[in-house]
């Protein structure tokens, strides 16, 4: 089952300049009762986005009309905590295709990649520059270039390259899916099992 491809994306960005954003904040546990993958975007950052009376908190970036776009920018150690892939589903379902931070938790990184969302890890100083750029001009645009592995602030042309595993890059560029890959390898896996008996 193919995932949505990514190549280059030019977009505005939504900033959440907070460090250690854990997956309990991205999608609180009480929304994990569903048995399908749809609709999680409505509860993305639920407890930061809505108050106790379910009223939107205007100051939270997702509720602030001046921020929009398919790029989410978060502080260091983004996605730490629980392995719930629901966090990745919520981010994808909300419409983000790229998450930018100076540091990602491991499981989260795998989870978003498996859902066609690209984690872009950049330096601490470049991250601060991006936050400053958005603060200065919330219509600022950014360019993600996956083939060349660069992320660019368009106004200043300032750019940084990021790492991605070549296999994963290939998957995203072509929309390939790990599970299909493994299913094609079943004969080899069965051979391997015989060597271990």
């Amino acid at each position: 089952m193919p995932i949505e491809k990514i190549n280059t994306i030019v977009s505005r960005a939504v900033p959440i300049p907070i460090e250690e954003i854990d997956t309990d904040q991205i999608i609180p546990a009480r929304f994990l009762k569903a048995t399908d993958k749809i609709g999680f975007g409505d509860n993305l950052f639920r407890d930061w986005r809505y108050d106790n009376n379910n009223q939107p908190i205007p100051s939270f970036p997702l509720n602030d009309a001046k921020y929009t776009g398919s790029i989410l920018v978060g502080g260091k150690n983004f996605g730490c905590g629980s392995s719930r892939e629901h966090a990745a589903w919520a981010i994808a379902d909300y419409g983000f295709r790229v998450v930018v931070s100076s540091f990602f938790a491991d499981i989260f990184k795998n989870n978003v990649l498996n859902n066609g969302v690209l984690p872009v890890q950049i330096s601490e100083s470049f991250l601060s520059e991006i936050f400053r750029e958005i603060e200065h001009n919330n219509e600022a645009e950014f360019k993600l270039d996956l083939p060349n592995q660069t992320f660019t602030i368009i106004s200043s042309g300032k750019s940084e390259s990021f790492d991605i595993n070549p296999y994963k890059k290939d998957c995203l560029l072509n929309g390939f899916d790990d599970i299909d890959y493994l299913i094609n390898k079943l004969p080899e896996i069965e051979e391997f099992e015989k060597t271990r008996k």
Binding site: E20, P28, A29, K33, N52, S83, I183, I189
Partner: protein
């Protein structure tokens, strides 16, 4: 060059490597639960496939279940549906399922070891980050997302890049009233919640060697809170004795043969780790957390650090955490009044934890204003609590014992801490709202939690020992 314990197990499970890419890693055992598996089953079925190796998968319902009246149908509709799905999916695909009321039901990371599914040298995954718990047996065990749960359904493999290796050595012997929970909270306070991201940790040193299996599980359980992919401990006589005779462990001559193999599971003297840390037991006391990630902890008698002592880039996060907890910089927490105590979870919901709790509660009574969730990690733990008379001690102290499950660790069920209230918890995460929207969690050992039940305050448990 020698190999680390991690290398030995990992390398022997690699089916093949994708050039410039992850390895195809063979998984010996997968555990599943109701929350992170339904989408993996439907994904698999949408591809028109069956589970490839159902015998190597075990299911238990734990996250989303009530801890009262488990003999009755689950009231909450969505939870009932999720548990029902796990049962249906497991049955349809030939997977062993331990449902509510089953004598082998319980929290997935408590059940695996106690039934002997978890053995040295294995690769183990589960759609739950605390799968790292099983590393205490000298296995490579790590949490995965639902896509990877589906990969294992389809192929008994996952695609994983090999992590880097870290060793954490703890010398000396833990003092009286200092538990393995304090040890790992101490390491967290030193290395932070992202200190081991990208690494797989091996814990070593005399403090670890002297620990029981249950204490080791607590350490490995929380290795994930350091950001690590997992944590592990080389198996030894303590490990072999724990595994021996358990339901799904090898029996008789098979067991002896297995032990011979397990004895080779250690890091060679000349093995190289990418990073190494050493700590001294003498520096560790009972610990509490004061912030909203498990790395923000301190010795129970210390004061919360001042903002200026925190690295400038992290000061905003630190202030945000204190604001959420309604604590001040430089504040002492000893004597601070609290409202709730939660004893349980896959970190500290085993029989030894309840023995520790009983050692303090015996002959004493609960502070009147304190509410509790005291929850065994499994039905077998619950049974043993009764056999040892710990239930009586709890009852006499005025503390109610609930039925097994994850409970207030993640509060997917009704076991929530109300907004603004402080809860001393033996679980592993103190994130904002983790125990219910607005709840404030202080992580601590079972001893410290028990002392808080008696005094209603944050109390050094050594006062009672």
């Amino acid at each position: 060059m020698g190999k680390t314990l991690f290398d030995k197990i990992w390398d022997s499970h690699v089916v093949s490597e994708i050039s410039d890419g992850p390895s195809i890693l063979y998984i010996d055992r997968q555990f599943i639960h109701e929350v992170t598996s339904p989408q993996a089953f439907s994904g698999l079925e949408n591809r028109g496939r069956k589970v490839f190796r159902p015998d190597q998968i075990t299911a238990t319902a734990d996250h989303n279940i009530p801890t009262e009246n488990q003999h009755l149908p689950i009231k909450e509709q969505l939870s009932a549906l999720q548990v029902e799905k796990l049962k249906d999916n497991s049955t349809r695909h030939g997977i062993t399922y331990y449902g509510l009321g089953d004598v082998y039901n319980g929290i997935v990371h408590v059940v695996g070891p106690e039934l002997g599914y978890t053995q040295p040298g294995m690769t183990i995954v589960c759609g739950d980050s605390h799968t790292s718990t099983h590393g205490a047996f000298g296995s490579v065990a790590f949490g995965v997302g639902t896509s990877e749960v589906e990969m294992v359904f389809a192929s008994q493999c996952v695609l994983q890049p090999k992590p880097k290796k870290m060793r954490i050595i703890i010398n000396g012997e833990l003092g009286k009233g200092v538990t393995s929970k304090d040890l790992i909270l101490y390491v967290l306070s030193q290395l932070t919640a992202s200190g081991a991201t990208g690494y797989f940790i091996e814990f070593a040193g005399s403090a670890i060697r002297n620990m029981t299996m249950e204490a080791r599980m607590t350490v490995c359980n929380m290795s994930i809170e350091l950001g690590a992919r997992g944590g592990m401990i080389a198996p030894d006589q303590t490990t072999f004795e724990y595994v021996k005779g358990r339901k799904y462990a090898p029996q008789g001559a098979d067991f002896d043969a297995a032990v011979e193999k397990w004895k080779e599971l250690y890091s060679d003297d000349d093995a190289v780790f990418d990073k190494e840390y050493t700590f001294e037991s003498a520096d560790i006391t009972p610990m509490v957390t004061y912030g909203t990630n498990p790395g923000l902890g301190m010795k129970i008698a210390d004061s919360i650090p001042s903002v200026s002592s925190i690295e400038p880039s992290s000061q905003e996060t630190f202030k945000k955490a204190l604001k959420y907890m309604n604590f001040e910089e430089n504040q002492q927490l000893l004597g601070k009044e609290i409202d709730w105590v939660f004893i349980g979870s896959c970190t500290n919901g085993r029989i030894e934890d309840f023995r520790l709790v009983a050692s303090i509660l015996k002959g004493r009574t609960k502070a009147p204003h304190i509410n509790t969730y005291v929850v065994p990690g499994s039905y077998l733990v619950a049974q043993q609590i009764k056999e040892e008379g710990i239930d009586k001690i709890l009852e006499e102290a005025g503390v109610e014992l609930r039925e097994p499950g994850c409970s207030s660790c993640l509060a997917m069920n009704d076991d929530k801490v109300p907004p603004g209230k402080y809860c001393v918890a033996t679980s592993n995460r103190n994130f904002e709202g983790r125990q219910g929207p607005g709840s404030r969690t202080i992580l601590a050992s079972p001893l410290t939690a028990a002392a808080a039940i008696i005094t209603g305050k944050i109390t050094d448990p050594r006062e009672f020992l």
